[in-house]
């Protein structure tokens, strides 16, 4: 599992000029608010088009401005769990889960619906509307939805930050399960030391749009059980 990201772009007054490469299964992007963490993963998912940059996942080049390669967002197969879940309000939980699966090419489908439903304990929620979910449940559905699209890479943008302490504790075990069962590399954006310590084995530190340090941890953190 390898991930290579390089991005240079100006967003108003802010300049993002960041670069990192990692072989870790789960890489945390860590830094204070406004450091450019979300902008950087938006470049990976192509929600932002950088002036110059390169994104490669396991050898597949998704973006290389120098070679004129720029795969559109819907063909990148980069799963994204947003801070505010972004579930489709006009669809039920089940329809939300199946949304990305429907677009995924048959031969690339990884996780089955039942597997994901069980992994994230979504069974009891399937027929609910998104309005009838708690914040934690919404994030679990968002994780399932991203997984079922069979992405080559999964981005998690502070999935716990909009939740209160109790909900965080409720969702954390599911994040760990996701980390342990997911078959693709994961990038986890956070400004919480506790979350990063608990989840990640490589950490990219960011500040003011730049990468300040990369810590590749070869030793597995105690809570991470490699499959």
């Amino acid at each position: 599992m390898s991930l290579e990201v390089k991005a240079l772009t100006r967003l108003g007054d802010f300049t993002l000029d960041a670069e990192f490469a990692t072989d870790g299964k789960i890489t945390a992007i860590f830094g204070p608010s406004g450091a450019g963490k979300t902008s950087l993963i938006n470049v990976i998912a192509r929600l932002i088009e950088p002036e110059r940059g390169r994104v490669a996942v396991d050898g597949a080049v998704l973006l290389d401005t120098e070679r004129g390669i720029d795969i559109p967002a819907h063909r990148r197969r980069v799963g994204y769990v947003f801070q505010e879940s972004r579930l489709f309000p006009h669809l039920t939980v089940k329809q939300n889960l199946l949304y990305g699966r429907w677009f995924a090419p048959h031969e690339l489908r990884q996780a089955s619906f039942d597997e994901v439903t069980e992994l994230l304990d979504l069974g009891p929620l399937l027929h609910r509307g998104t309005r009838q979910l708690s914040g934690g449940e919404k994030q679990r559905v968002a994780m399932g939805r991203a997984l079922l699209a069979s992405p080559r890479l999964l981005l998690l943008d502070e999935p716990l930050s909009s939740l209160d302490e109790a909900r965080k504790q409720e969702v954390m075990p599911f994040l760990e399960r996701l980390r342990d069962h997911a078959r693709m590399p994961i990038v986890y954006v956070s400004h919480s030391v506790a979350e990063v310590e608990r989840l990640a084995n490589s950490v990219v530190f960011m500040e003011a749009g730049r990468v300040t340090e990369i810590r590749q941890d070869s030793t597995t953190p105690p809570l991470l059980n490699e499959q």
């Binding site: 998912a45 929600l47 559109p72 967002a73 819907h74 063909r75 990148r76 197969r77 980069v78 799963g79 994204y80 947003f82 505010e84 972004r86 489709f88 309000p89 006009h90 669809l91 949304y99 990305g100 429907w102 677009f103 995924a104 509307g129 998104t130 309005r131 939805r145 991203a146 699209a149």
Partner: protein, 231 residues
């Protein structure tokens, strides 16, 4: 309920048909123009917006006369349509539908445009990361979310079309069975001695249809609105 004469019944049926055809015809254009106005910034956007709103402020008789000049048998567009496709608008019910579509268009576009501007584009981004191309994002996310606005706009357009008088009578006249709609027949009744009863009957019917359309529209728009908001 007073009984209707065949003449009145014909006018009512024609009005419903003209308004329905006008609305259905205007709908795809309305959605497209609303999308352009809501989502793109280009040179001349203000002019496009003004052109769309023009029929709202122009005297209807002027709109009708412009249509006659353009779409009449001798008009540049009218002659081309006739020569190429055999389509005639002038003094036909299709012309009445065209006039009604244009008069209702501003209301249609406005309602849809407001709905599009209210859509959370972050949901569309989410859909694209899940593998949906832009047309699919539009069909599976944007369109369902703006459905209440489209319905509301269509109803307003339909109601406006049912009541259209000035542009219709100028463009296609007031021919019984062809272009004599509810409003133009009421006008005819007011111009002949002893027409009061007919005018009154049709006024009541006009009121009932308009009120019913608005109530139905609001009901449907609310129900769909609740559904797309996930309630």
């Amino acid at each position: 309920m007073p009984t209707l004469t065949p003449e009145e019944l014909t006018a009512i049926k024609l009005s419903l048909r003209v308004a329905a055809v006008a609305t259905l015809f205007a709908l795809p254009f309305g959605v497209a123009i609303a999308l352009v106005l809501a989502r793109t910034r280009f040179y001349g956007r203000a002019l496009l917006n003004a052109l769309v709103l023009l029929p709202l402020v122009l005297p209807p008789v002027v709109t009708g006369y412009v249509l006659l000049l353009l779409f009449g048998k001798q008009g540049p567009i009218g002659r081309w349509l006739y020569d190429s496709f055999g389509i005639v608008f002038a003094f036909r019910w299709t012309g009445a539908a065209l006039a009604c579509a244009i008069m209702g268009f501003p209301l249609l576009v406005r309602a849809i445009q407001l709905a599009i501007e209210a859509v959370d584009t972050r949901l569309e981004q989410a859909a694209s990361t899940l593998g949906a191309s832009r047309p699919w994002v539009f069909l599976t996310v944007t369109l369902p979310l703006i459905a209440p606005g489209i319905i509301a706009g269509a109803i307003l357009c339909f109601a406006r079309a049912m009541g259209e008088f000035g542009a219709t009578i100028t463009f296609v006249s007031n021919i019984p069975g062809e272009t004599q709609t509810l409003p133009t027949l009421i006008y005819t009744f007011t111009q002949v001695p002893g027409g009061d009863a007919g005018a009154f009957r049709l006024t009541l019917i006009s009121l009932a249809i308009s009120l019913g359309a608005i109530l139905a529209a609001e009901g449907i728009a609310q129900a769909v609105g609740r559904r797309v908001r996930g309630q």
